[in-house]
C-alpha cells in the first residue's frame, strides 16, 4: 500500500523538492453570460517543506484556489501537480484516491465525524485508504498536538481549539505531501488560534511537511514563511518573512495596485490605515 505509484519518493521532503505546482489554472462558475471568473490563469510553485499563506479580499478566488489545488474541485483549464504527479480530473472516486495519498485537510469548521472519538477520527483517513493503521503512531501525533489524554473523547466533548487540533492530527497522520488549511483559525479565540498556527508551523519546521493556508487574518498569515496575495482571481504579489502589520498594509492597498508589484514593500505603517 505504501509503494503506490507517484508516492515512492517517500514522505519526507528535503527542502528543495516541489510539493505543489499550478500551471495556468482557470476556473469560472455559472453559465456563459453570467459567468464569474474565480481563477484567471494562476501559475505558482511551492517547494516542499514550506509554509505558505494565501490572502486576498473576499471574492478574490482564494477558496477556489485551495479547492482546485487540493482536488476538491476541478479546474476548467490548467495543470495541478502534487508531489510531482499530475492530478487528472476523472471520477470523484479517482480524485479521492489521488487526494488521500497526498493531501491532508484542515477546515474552519473542523469537519470531524461526530460519531467517532478522537483516535478514530484521527486514523479514519488511513482506514478509508485501506492502509495499515499504526495506533502507536496516531497516539504519538495526538500527543504532539497536546491531546494525548483525550483520545477517547468525542468531538462534542472538546473545545473548538481542541477539535481543530484533532483535525491537524488527522491531516498529519497520513504523512501527506501537502496540508491544505482553509481559514483554520476562523472560528477560534486568539489563544486557540495561536496554538493551532504554532502546530502548523511545527509541522513544517520540525517534520518537514508542506502547508498551504488560506486566511483573511494578517496575524495568522504572519506565521507563514511567505504570503501569496490574490485579487480578482490572479496572483497579486508575494511577501517573504511576513509580519502582521506589513500584511495588513499590503491588503489595504491590494484593490488599487495589484499585479504591479511583486517585491516586499517597506512596512513602516501600522495596521488599519
Amino acid at each position: 500500500m505504501f509503494g503506490r505509484k507517484g508516492n515512492k519518493a517517500g514522505r519526507q521532503h528535503p527542502a528543495g523538492g516541489e510539493a505543489l505546482r499550478l500551471v495556468k489554472v482557470t476556473k469560472s462558475y455559472g453559465e456563459a453570460d453570467s459567468a464569474v471568473t474565480a481563477l484567471d490563469g494562476v501559475t505558482l510553485s511551492l517547494p516542499a517543506g514550506t509554509f505558505t499563506a494565501v490572502m486576498g479580499p473576499s471574492g478574490s478566488g482564494k477558496s477556489t484556489l485551495l479547492q482546485c489545488a487540493a482536488g476538491l474541485d476541478r479546474p476548467d483549464n490548467g495543470i495541478v501537480m502534487v508531489d510531482g504527479t499530475e492530478m487528472t480530473g476523472g471520477t470523484e472516486a479517482e480524485l479521492t484516491k489521488f487526494r488521500r495519498g497526498r493531501i491532508g485537510f484542515v477546515f474552519q469548521q473542523y469537519n470531524l465525524l461526530p460519531t467517532l472519538n478522537v483516535l478514530q477520527n484521527t486514523v479514519l483517513p488511513l482506514k478509508l485508504a485501506g492502509r495499515r493503521v499504526n495506533r502507536a503512531h496516531a497516539r504519538e501525533v495526538l500527543q504532539r498536538v497536546g491531546l494525548g489524554d483525550r483520545v477517547s473523547h468525542r468531538p462534542d466533548q472538546l473545545s473548538g481549539g481542541q477539535r481543530q487540533r484533532v483535525a491537524i492530527a488527522r491531516a498529519l497522520v497520513t504523512e501527506p505531501s501537502v496540508v491544505f488549511a482553509d481559514e483554520p483559525t476562523g472560528a477560534l479565540d486568539t489563544r486557540s488560534a495561536r496554538e493551532v498556527l504554532r502546530l502548523l508551523q511545527e509541522a513544517v519546521r520540525v517534520h518537514g511537511r508542506t502547508v498551504v493556508m488560506v486566511t483573511h487574518d494578517p496575524v495568522a498569515a504572519s506565521y507563514a514563511d511567505s504570503v501569496l496575495f490574490l485579487a480578482d482571481g490572479r496572483l497579486a504579489g508575494r511577501m517573504d518573512r511576513p509580519t502582521a502589520d506589513a500584511v495588513a498594509e499590503r491588503m489595504a492597498h491590494l484593490g488599487d495596485e495589484y499585479a504591479t508589484d511583486t517585491t516586499t514593500p517597506a512596512y513602516a505603517t501600522p495596521a488599519g490605515v
Binding site: 469548521q109 465525524l113 467517532l116 477520527n121
Partner: protein
C-alpha cells in the same frame, strides 16, 4: 404566521409530500370503511348485511385512525426536525415558540384538509370495491347499494384533521423542548416499552386460557399480543443494537454510527418491526386457520370468510402505512446526513465507500427489525396454532421470506438511493450547507 404557513406550503410543496401522502392514504382508508356505516344505515338493508358492514367499519375504522395518527406524526416529526435551521432563523427574527407552533399546526391542517379532499373520490371507488368483496363472500346481500354519506365524509375529514393537528402539536413541542426534557422522555419511553412487552406477553398467554379446540376468535388476543410485543421491541431494539455493536469492539464507521445514532435508528426500527411483526403474525395465523378448516373438511362460514377478508385488508393497510413511514423516515434521516457524508468524503472516502457504509448500516438495521418482528410474530402464532389445532404450526417459510424480503428491499433501496442523490452535491458544499 398563518400567511407564512401558506407561503411555505406553496413555495416548498416537496417537503410536505410525505405528510400529504400519509393524510391521503389515511383519509381514504377511514372514509372507505366508514362508508360501510353509511351503507349499513341506508333504508332497506337487512340485518345480517348491516351487521357485517358495521363490524368491519368499527374494527378497521378504530385502529385505522390510530395508524393515521402515527403515520402523520412520523412524517411531521421528520419535517420539523429537517427545518431546525429555518425555525432557528424565525426564532432569531423574533418569532415566539407559540407562533412557531401555530405555523406548523396551520401547515399540517392545510395539508391534512388537502389530503382528505383528494381522498374523497378514491374512497368512493374503494368503498364500492370493498362492498363487492363482502357481496362476493356472501356476507352482504347483493341487493345492497353502496352509499357514501355524511358519516364517511365527516369522519374522514375530522379524524385526518385531528390527527394532523395533534401530531403537529406534538412534533413541534418535541422540537422546541428537545434539550431540557430528555431524561424524563427516555424514562417515559422505557416505562411504556416495558408496559407494551408485558401486555403483549399477557395477551399471547391468554390464548392458552381459551382452552383446546378454541374457535377462530382465538386469533384476537395473540394478534394484539404480537402488535404489543412489536411496539415494545421497537422501544428497546435501538439500545440493544447499540449495546451489541458496542460489545463487539468493532471500530468501523458503521459500528460507530449504529452506536451513537440511537434516536434516529428507533425512528426506522419502529415501522420496520411493526411491519414484520404484524404482517407475519396475521398472515401465518390466517394460514393456520385456513389449513385447519380445510383439514376438518367443513365449508367456511360467513364469519370465517369475514375474518379472512378483514385480516387481509388489515395486513394490506398496515403494510402500506408501515412502508410509507419506513421510507419517509429513512429518506429524511439519510437526507439529513448530507453533511456527515461530506465529512467522510473530505476525510478520504470515495462515493462508493460512503454508499457501502450506508448499505451495510441499512442491512444491519433490516436484520435487527426482522429479528425482533419475527420473535413478536412467533409469540402470537404459536399460541394460536396450539389453541386452535393442538399442534405447532406447520406452514412453510414462504410468507416469512416474502415479508422479510420486502423489509430488506425497502430499507436498502431507500437509504442507498437517497444517499446516492446526496452524493451529487460536491463534498465541500455538502459540509458547508448545514455548518
Amino acid at each position: 404566521m398563518f400567511s407564512l404557513a401558506l407561503h411555505s406550503i406553496r413555495k416548498r410543496p416537496g417537503r410536505f409530500a410525505a405528510t400529504l401522502l400519509a393524510a391521503f392514504l389515511g383519509a381514504t382508508i377511514i372514509m372507505t370503511f366508514n362508508s360501510m356505516h353509511d351503507t349499513a344505515g341506508a333504508a332497506g338493508v337487512d340485518k345480517v348485511s348491516s351487521e357485517s358492514l358495521s363490524t368491519a367499519a368499527a374494527v378497521v375504522g378504530g385502529y385505522g385512525s390510530l395508524l393515521v395518527f402515527f403515520a402523520i406524526a412520523s412524517t411531521l416529526t421528520v419535517n420539523v426536525r429537517q427545518r431546525e435551521s429555518e425555525m432557528d432563523l424565525l426564532r432569531s427574527a423574533g418569532a415566539t415558540p407559540a407562533q412557531l407552533k401555530r405555523m406548523v399546526v396551520v401547515e399540517a391542517a392545510v395539508v391534512a384538509l388537502l389530503g382528505a379532499a383528494l381522498a374523497i373520490v378514491p374512497a368512493m371507488l374503494a368503498g364500492n370495491a370493498l362492498l363487492d368483496l363482502f357481496k362476493d363472500s356472501g356476507q352482504v346481500k347483493d341487493s345492497v347499494d353502496h352509499s357514501f354519506g355524511p358519516i364517511a365524509l365527516s369522519s374522514g375529514i375530522d379524524i385526518t384533521l385531528l390527527a394532523a393537528v395533534g401530531a403537529a402539536f406534538l412534533a413541534v413541542r418535541r422540537a422546541t423542548k428537545a434539550h431540557d426534557k430528555k431524561p424524563q422522555r427516555t424514562r417515559l419511553r422505557t416505562i411504556s416499552g416495558y408496559a407494551a412487552l408485558g401486555l403483549g406477553v399477557a395477551m399471547c398467554l391468554t390464548t392458552f386460557a381459551m382452552g383446546k379446540d378454541a374457535g377462530p376468535e382465538a386469533m384476537a388476543p395473540p394478534a394484539y399480543g404480537a402488535i404489543m410485543l412489536s411496539v415494545g421491541f421497537a422501544v428497546f431494539s435501538p439500545r440493544l443494537l447499540a449495546a451489541i455493536v458496542g460489545k463487539s469492539g468493532d471500530l468501523s464507521l458503521t459500528a460507530a454510527n449504529l452506536r451513537h445514532r440511537t434516536a434516529q435508528l428507533s425512528g426506522v426500527l419502529m415501522p420496520l418491526i411493526l411491519f414484520v411483526g404484524i404482517t407475519t403474525a396475521t398472515l401465518y395465523m390466517q394460514a393456520v386457520e385456513n389449513d385447519h378448516i380445510k383439514q376438518s373438511g367443513i365449508a367456511k362460514t360467513i364469519d370465517d370468510k369475514q375474518l379472512e377478508t378483514l385480516n387481509f385488508v388489515v395486513v394490506g393497510i398496515i403494510a402500506a402505512f408501515a412502508c410509507v413511514m419506513l421510507i419517509n423516515t429513512l429518506y429524511a434521516t439519510t437526507t439529513y446526513r448530507g453533511q456527515e457524508f461530506g465529512q467522510q468524503r473530505l476525510a478520504g472516502a470515495t462515493p462508493g465507500q460512503v454508499l457501502r457504509t450506508v448499505g451495510l448500516e441499512s442491512l444491519i438495521l433490516a436484520a435487527t427489525g426482522i429479528f425482533f418482528g419475527t420473535i413478536a410474530a412467533i409469540a402470537g402464532i404459536v399460541p394460536f396454532a396450539l389453541a386452535r389445532t393442538d399442534s405447532m404450526p406447520e406452514q412453510g417459510p414462504g410468507i416469512w421470506l416474502a415479508v422479510a424480503g420486502t423489509a430488506v428491499a425497502a430499507t436498502l433501496v431507500t437509504s442507498v438511493a437517497t444517499a446516492h442523490r446526496r452524493l451529487r452535491t460536491p463534498a465541500v458544499e455538502a459540509v458547508a450547507l448545514a455548518a
